[in-house]
Amino acid sequence: MPARIDYEYIAAHVPEGAKVLDLGCGDGTLLEFLIQRKHVDGRGVDIDEAAVRQCVSKGIPVYHGDMLEGMAMFADGTFDCTILSQTLQQTLQPERVLEQMLRVSRKAIVSFPNWGHWRVRLQLLLKGRVPVTPWLPYQWYETPNVRQLTIKDFLRFSADRNLHIADCTYFLPSYKKIPALGANLLASTAVFVIEKHHGRGITRGSARQA
C-alpha cells in the first residue's frame, strides 16, 4: 500500500533488483516499497535526523546530510537509477543535483508539484495571495519549497541542457493519469524519467543559471 500513487509510476520505471538511490528519501517509505515490489538494493539520503532514524529502523542504508554531499563519493554509474521524489522544489541547486544524479546513475526519476495548475494560477490572480493547495500545502512563511516550477519550466530546463526525457507522466490532484496535452494547466504532479545521453551528463545550454 504505497503512500502515494506516484510511487506506483516510479516503481514502473525501476528495473527489478536495481541499485537505487533515493534523494530526500524521508522515512524510507518509497524505498521500502521498492524493496518489496522490485527487490531493489536501495539507499537513501535525507537531511532530517528523525527520518534517518526511521530508515535505519527499516534496515535501509541512509546518509544523513545534504544530497549533493551524499552523492559526491559515489563513483560514476554506481546506481541503475536515482530518484528525486517531490524534492526537486526543495533543492537549492537543482541543476547540480540533476547533473550529479545523471553522473551516479544512468536514469534519474524526478517528480515534483506543478505550479502551473489552474488553481495555483487563479489563486494568485484572483486572491492576490501565494497559492495554497492540497499538493502545495504550505503557507509562504513555512514552505520548504525554495524552487517553484511548472511542467513547462522543467521541459524548457531539460531541453536547454539536452536532457533526454525518456518518459513523463502527469497526474490530476485526484492522482488520475492524464495526457500531456494541457497537463501544465491540469496536472498537480509530474513524474519525469531522464536518461543520460551516451557518455554525457548535463550539457549546459545558453540559458545557464546565474
Binding site: 533488483g17 524493496i35 527487490h39 538494493d41 539507499r43 535526523e49 534517518v52 532514524r53 530508515c55 535505519v56 529502523s57 534496515g59 535501509i60 542504508p61 541512509v62 546518509y63 544523513h64 546530510g65 554531499e69 559526491a72 563519493m73 559515489f74 563513483a75 554506481t78
Partner: protein, 392 residues
Amino acid sequence: MNEDRSVGTVETRYWRFAEPPDRLQLRCGARLGPIDVAYETYGELTTRRDNAVLLCHALSGDAHVAGRHSPDDRKPGWWDIMVGPGKPIDTSRYFVVCSNFIGGCSGSTGPSSVNPETGRPYGLSFPMVTVQDMIRVQHALVTQHLGLDRLLCVIGGSLGGMQVLQWAASYPEVVLGALPIASTSRLNAQAIAFNEVGRQAIYSDPNWQGGNYYGKQPPHRGLAVARMIGHITYLSDRSMHDKFGRSLQDKTAVGYDFGPPDFQVESYLRHQGNAFVRRFDANSYLYITKAMDYFDLESDHGSLIEAFKHARSQFLVISFTGDWLFPTYQSREIVQALQANGVKVSFCEVQSAYGHDAFLLKNEALDALIRSFLDNLYAEVRGASGNSTANR
C-alpha cells in the same frame, strides 16, 4: 535483577596468550608476551554462535561495561545504560564481550604490568602499542579463546570507534556489522594537541621519574591535570553552561584568593582529576594517547578508500552535533570512503548539546539507532539461511 534491567553481578575474567617464545610481534617491531587480557561477557552465546557483539572501550574505559562486581558496588560498568536485558544492546538477545586493550591498566598487560624478564614493572620499557595491536589481541581473544569466527557487530565510541574501524579494515570476514560512534579515521591536529598537553602535564610532574614511579609516589598531580584537560574536551560550551554556569562552590561570593575553588566547574574538574588517579596509571595514559595520535587509516593504506577496500561489514556511523573533539566531518569522511567501496553504510548525526561525551550519556535517538541496527543485523543473519532479501 531483570527488574532494573541490569546484567547483575558480573566478573572480570583473564586470558593469557603470546607466551614466549610465541610473543606477539607488534607494529613498532617489538615483541610482547606473555599478554594478559581482561575481559567480561554478558548474555548467552547461541548454539549457532551468531549473536556475539564486541564492545571496544575508549581511553579511560575498561572491560567492565555493565552490571556490578559485587551487589554493594557503588557504580555499575561504563555503559550500563546501554547494555543489559531489554536495553539497546540487549543481553537477553546478544552475547556481549568487552576486553581491556593492551597498554591499559585495568587487567590487561600494560606499562604497569610486571615484565617477566626483569621481575619489575615495564614502565617506559613497555613497547609502543597501536590500535592495530589492540585489535590483533582482541581478535586472538575472540577467535582463539572464545571460539567465535563471526561477530554480529563491533561497537565503540571515540577510541573505541577507531578500534571498530580497524576491526572492519583488518578482519572484514569476522565483522558483520560495524558501529563506530563519535569517532574518526585519524585525529585532527586539535585532538593531538590536547593529548600532548595531557602528556606534558604528566612529564612535568616530578614524581613521574621517567616512568619509573612504581612502588613509589605516582605522578598524581600530572595525571589529574591531564584528566582535567581531557574532561574539558569531552564537554561543550553548552553542557558546561547547563551544568555549572558561573555557579560558585560552597560560597556566596568569590574569594579573591587562590584557595579552595571559587566556581563549581573548578571543583568538578578537581574532583574528576582526583577520582581518575585512583583508578588509572599515568604511563598507560601516555601510551594510550600515543596510540590514538598514531592511528591513521589513511596513511596506513594510502587513502581512506583504500583502507576500506576489503571492508564487507554493514556500517552504521554516528556522530554528534555538539562534538568538537571528533567533529562530524570526520565521520562523513569515513562514510564517503565506505560508500566509494560500495559498502552498505548508514550515517546519522545525532542532535546533542553535549560534547564528545554524548555517546556515554542517555540519548533516545542513539538508543533507537543502536537497537534497530543490531536487531536488523540479527534478523538478516537469522534469515540468511532461508529466503533472504539481503542484496549483498
